[in-house]
């Protein structure tokens, strides 16, 4: 749908574009973190790109990704650099930015893979204010730090909450109560 965007990115940034794929009509570009800001500003300002509308920002935790049976294409988790290995220092999170251009009517998804040890990416909230809360949400639920975000706080959960619940290793039903009825304390 917007192959020309991918081509332009490849032409301009070369090996900063780790991989590109077209998934069900969505064009996806996996980029190097160091170049993310440059790529973003290019996408925003270049007259041929003009991605003016931020759609969403989220992350994928690839901790438990495993190819099932023999169906389908090799999943991203099967790339060597994603291998958690013995002490879990593989690329664990993929931060996704979905962008749209209302001018040119094209859209693209930028991905950026980070390790658990330094789960941080440069913040794009200054460029697209729409990403302000979206990045806070991603930080809240996945614990990914966005460098340069003006106020990176929890947004859904409360400050007393420990951990980041959408990580695959956070148990679904692990509650952290703030208040309970005195006569019930101990039951939970």
């Amino acid at each position: 749908m917007s192959q020309k965007v991918i081509d332009a990115l490849k032409a301009k940034f070369g090996d900063a574009i780790v991989a590109t794929e077209n998934q069900h009509g969505d064009d996806v570009a996996l980029v190097k973190r160091e170049q993310l800001l440059a790529i973003a500003s290019f996408l925003k300002d270049d007259p041929a790109m003009l991605f003016d509308m931020p759609v969403f920002c989220t992350a994928i935790d690839l901790l438990q990704w495993r190819p099932v049976g023999d169906r389908g294409a090799p999943p991203p988790g099967s790339r060597p650099e994603y291998d958690p290995g013995e002490d879990h220092d593989g690329l664990r999170f993929e931060v996704c930015y979905q962008l749209r251009s209302l001018t040119h009517r094209h859209r693209v998804r930028i991905k950026c893979a980070v390790r658990e040890a330094d789960a941080r990416v440069p913040s794009l909230a200054a460029m697209w204010p729409g990403f302000d809360w979206q990045e806070r949400e991603t930080f809240d639920l996945y614990g990914i730090k966005f460098d340069g975000h003006h106020d990176l706080r929890r947004i859904y959960l409360y400050d007393e909450f420990i951990g980041h619940p959408l990580r695959k290793d956070y148990p679904k039903e692990k509650r952290q109560p703030l208040v309970r009825r005195p006569d019930l304390v101990g039951d939970h």
Binding site: V55, F56, P67, R71, A73, Q98, Y156
Partner: protein, 413 residues
Amino acid sequence: MADLKTLVMGRKDVADLDLETELPPELMTVNMGPSHPAMHGTVRIVLSVDGERIVKGDIQPGYLHRCFEKEAEHATYTQIFPYTDRLNYVSPMINNCGYAMAVEKLLGLTGHIPRRAEFIRVIVSEVSRITDHLTCVGASAMELGAFGPFLFFLKVREWLYTWLEEVSGARLTHSYVRVGGVNKDLPAGWAEKLDRRLTEMEGVMVEVESMLNLNRIFHDRMAGIGVMTRAEAIAWGQSGPIARSAGVDYDVRKDHPYSVYPEFEFDVPLGTSGDCLDRYLIRVEEIKQSTRILRQAMKMIPDGPWIIDDGKVALPPKTEAYNTIEAMIRHFKHIVDGIKVAPGECYTFLEGGNGELGFFIVSDGTGRPYKCYVRSPSFVHLSATSKLIKNHLIADIVPIFGMINMIGGECDK
């Protein structure tokens, strides 16, 4: 007597009110919510006010964070429909459709859904859109003191709920749509009933508009309040009535057509000033446009199956499931293992009641999504609200919030 005063005023006597400490010169911090009549759903705002003027508003959502994503990662693709119902619970059918479309895209079924199913989806979605706008406008009017329109609109919504109940079996949380179609055909005589309801509704619309549009108080409370420019709207990722009120000509049904929408004639109302009054007018106009679509759909809807004929996607009829081993096995594999979706990811979006509602699903080939992110318009709209309420009076929060139409379930997920 002193005790009584203590009870009433919280201090011994009005005389010992210390102006220095009780009315400090610096900004005052006021807390609104999380349980507040003017807050649709539950959201908390910490306001720094200079007298009545809002200097800074820190909006804190999350009081209804029900972990849609975590639940979805632990449920099969079919089990997730009830959770989508409760995202935007004012227009559940649209969420159902959006989620179903996402899964169908991953399955490669887009375009292979029976035409009747597509039409049914459009019909129930538009009815849901109407109920959404009715609730939004009615409730906001009530919060501005106009209790009449609220009662009128809820009466109409009741008619539509009754109709939706006949279709799906539930008043509010329908779970009517399925991957590959809808779970049963429309009931006999649905068209006549819907037609009558719509006609009656148009009558009520006239009444309500005559009550509101030229109402001086309503006008003053809405016009010029919470203005958002076109550039702001785009940069903040706004969509739906909010963006259109600011003149952004963007409606997914027109710009990225899905389902059978290209076959219908309808207009997308645009605002000019981007204030609350425009948002109200646009919603009212969209109700009429939805009615237009419904009237066309009632004529155009074809006969045929309402769910795709694919044993790996659709459940077998219960009568067979209980009596033949073949259907029983199909039922078991469907319920226990879930619909197997090939590894991949896709972002599918459609025009929800509030704007662009999108589902970003990542599949690892099993019967449950590896990730199921929902791009909820309310959340995006609310992120811009702190800008909108700035430099307004506290009382203006009411219309602004009313017209942002923040739906807790959708915003907090």
